[in-house]
């Protein structure tokens, strides 16, 4: 469904992505792991054109786009097919929870207001915020804000949702509620590409884990294979640091 080929991206002298290929099928939940600075977030941002890649193609089913020279119209089409969940939620502070969710529907996709409100309420119900339609972001906890962020993405009914470290900015006790919501929408068959440090999420929910380092994909495969039997030395080192000591035995 989504195929990315040979993405390159540099910031000045600093080459962040050195030719990344990735293929995602419908219904896949793909988790990208890797040390910070390995280019995970940049990869996600390039797919949504929040950064302009220096080289590479994205193939979305029927359309093939050269990432560097994409026209405004092509960018718009790709953004219609994708949704983004940000590390810092990035909710619109001047809008209520419901307005945050419906903004993209009404303005971006020209859905009639009443219909958009219905879709928006359903999306907020799904993330457990039925009581908070009219709350402003400043009245919500971090976990609630991120759940609005997820509802905003879900409501657009995209082909794929891109999650950029959705729990990294949260207090530890709020991480659980967001991960639960993500698990639920994964169960519904939503295609997801997730950058995260939550190993348990990768283990329990992903059907494929991608390990990135130094701007390249080092290794990828099903979670139990990557976690219990990594082939590359670099992957082993990384997992040794992030996995609980007894995880290998526990498997």
């Amino acid at each position: 469904m989504l195929e990315i080929k040979n993405i390159h991206k540099s910031f000045g002298q600093n080459e962040i992505l050195k030719g990344v290929d990735l293929q995602i099928d419908k219904g896949d939940v793909v988790v990208i792991l890797g040390p910070s600075g390995s280019g995970k977030t940049t990869l996600l941002r390039c797919i949504n054109f929040l950064e302009k890649a220096d080289e590479g193609y994205a193939n979305f089913g029927d359309i093939n786009v050269h990432l560097k020279t994409a026209s405004k119209k092509q960018i718009h089409v790709i953004r219609q097919k994708t949704a983004f969940v940000f590390q810092n939620y990035n909710l619109f502070n001047n809008k209520t929870a419901l307005e945050n969710v419906t903004e993209g529907l009404i303005i971006g996709r020209k859905v009639p207001k009443a219909e958009a409100a219905e879709i928006g309420k359903k999306a907020l119900d799904k993330v457990g915020l039925s009581e908070k339609y009219d709350a402003y972001p400043s009245q919500l906890s971090g976990g609630q804000q991120q759940r609005v962020g997820i509802a905003r993405a879900v409501a657009l009914n995209p082909d794929i949702i891109l999650f950029d470290e959705p729990t990294s900015a949260l207090d530890p006790e709020l991480v659980g509620e967001v991960l639960t919501v993500m698990k639920n929408i994964a169960k519904e068959g939503t295609t997801m590409l997730v950058v995260t440090h939550e190993i348990s999420f990768a283990r329990d929910v992903a059907n494929r884990v991608v390990f990135m380092d130094g701007g390249m994909i080092v290794e990828e495969g099903p979670p139990n294979e990557i976690f219990s039997n990594p082939k590359e030395e670099r992957t082993k080192q990384f997992l040794k640091r992030v996995l609980p000591e007894d995880y290998i035995y526990y498997i």
Binding site: R79, N88, N94, I107, R109, Y136, P137, S138
Partner: protein, 233 residues
């Protein structure tokens, strides 16, 4: 103290309020959008324009308003005369109402102040919200109008209020180009019987009332705009 004169002249000074207000409103109408756009050029580092905005702000902020008035009031008529002669327009430049010069000076001046006000206000709205707006399919203009500007306005409003009050007070300098505003009218009335103290008290009161009213209106507007900040209150 001549109380009758004090009361009479109060109304004379008051009759200059419309002039002061029109200059203020016209200047704001020009300076607000222009200042916002030029602030954007600075934040987005648009090559030539951002440099222009920078130099412009330095020039205007670094010179007294009264000097700017003198420059415009003496140079624009010369410029116009040569144009009138060239195109054979039969019009005397000295018939032009000085209020037009006031529009020019105070618009130029206020624009510079607005650039700086908006520059700091825009930077308080996270870039992430703009990215989120793009990611849900909003265009640049839609994102600015619906997400960024409403928030920028709330942050900028106290400073815009200060700038507006300063602008109202600065219109008193219009007397230097014989503009029929508050200060000049009261001063002229005082010339007859040398009742300067009474006239100055009147001028003082009129500005005080006018500026307090404007401040009050801004406060109310700010309250209405910032309803989304309830939780912080």
């Amino acid at each position: 103290m001549d109380f009758k004169f004090l009361v009479d002249t109060f109304f004379v000074a008051l009759s200059g309020v419309p002039t002061a207000l029109i200059i203020t409103i016209i200047s704001l109408l020009i300076a607000l959008p222009l200042g916002f756009l030029l602030a954007l050029t600075r934040i987005n580092q648009i090559p030539v324009l951002q440099r222009f905005a920078q130099v412009y702000v330095s020039f205007i902020r670094g010179t007294p308003v009264i000097v700017q008035i003198f420059i415009v009031y003496s140079s624009v008529p010369l410029f116009l005369t040569s144009i009138f002669e060239k195109y054979h327009i039969d019009k005397n430049v000295y018939d032009i109402n000085p209020i037009w010069y006031a529009f020019i000076v105070f618009s130029i001046n206020t624009t510079a102040i607005m650039i700086e006000i908006f520059r700091s206000a825009i930077s308080t709205v996270s870039k992430g919200q703009l990215e989120a707006a793009y990611s849900v399919g909003l265009t640049n203009v839609q994102a600015l109008r619906r997400i960024i500007i409403p928030q920028v306005l709330v942050t900028a409003l106290p400073n815009i209020c200060t700038a507006t009050v300063n602008l109202i007070k600065a219109t008193s300098l219009g007397y230097a180009m014989s503009l029929q505003e508050i200060t000049l009218r009261a001063k002229v009335a005082a010339n007859v019987g040398y009742n300067y103290v009474e006239a100055y008290i009147d001028i003082f009161l009129v500005y005080l009332i006018l500026c307090s009213l404007v401040e009050y209106l801004f406060k109310r507007y700010e309250k209405r705009l910032s309803k989304y900040k309830i939780a912080h209150a």
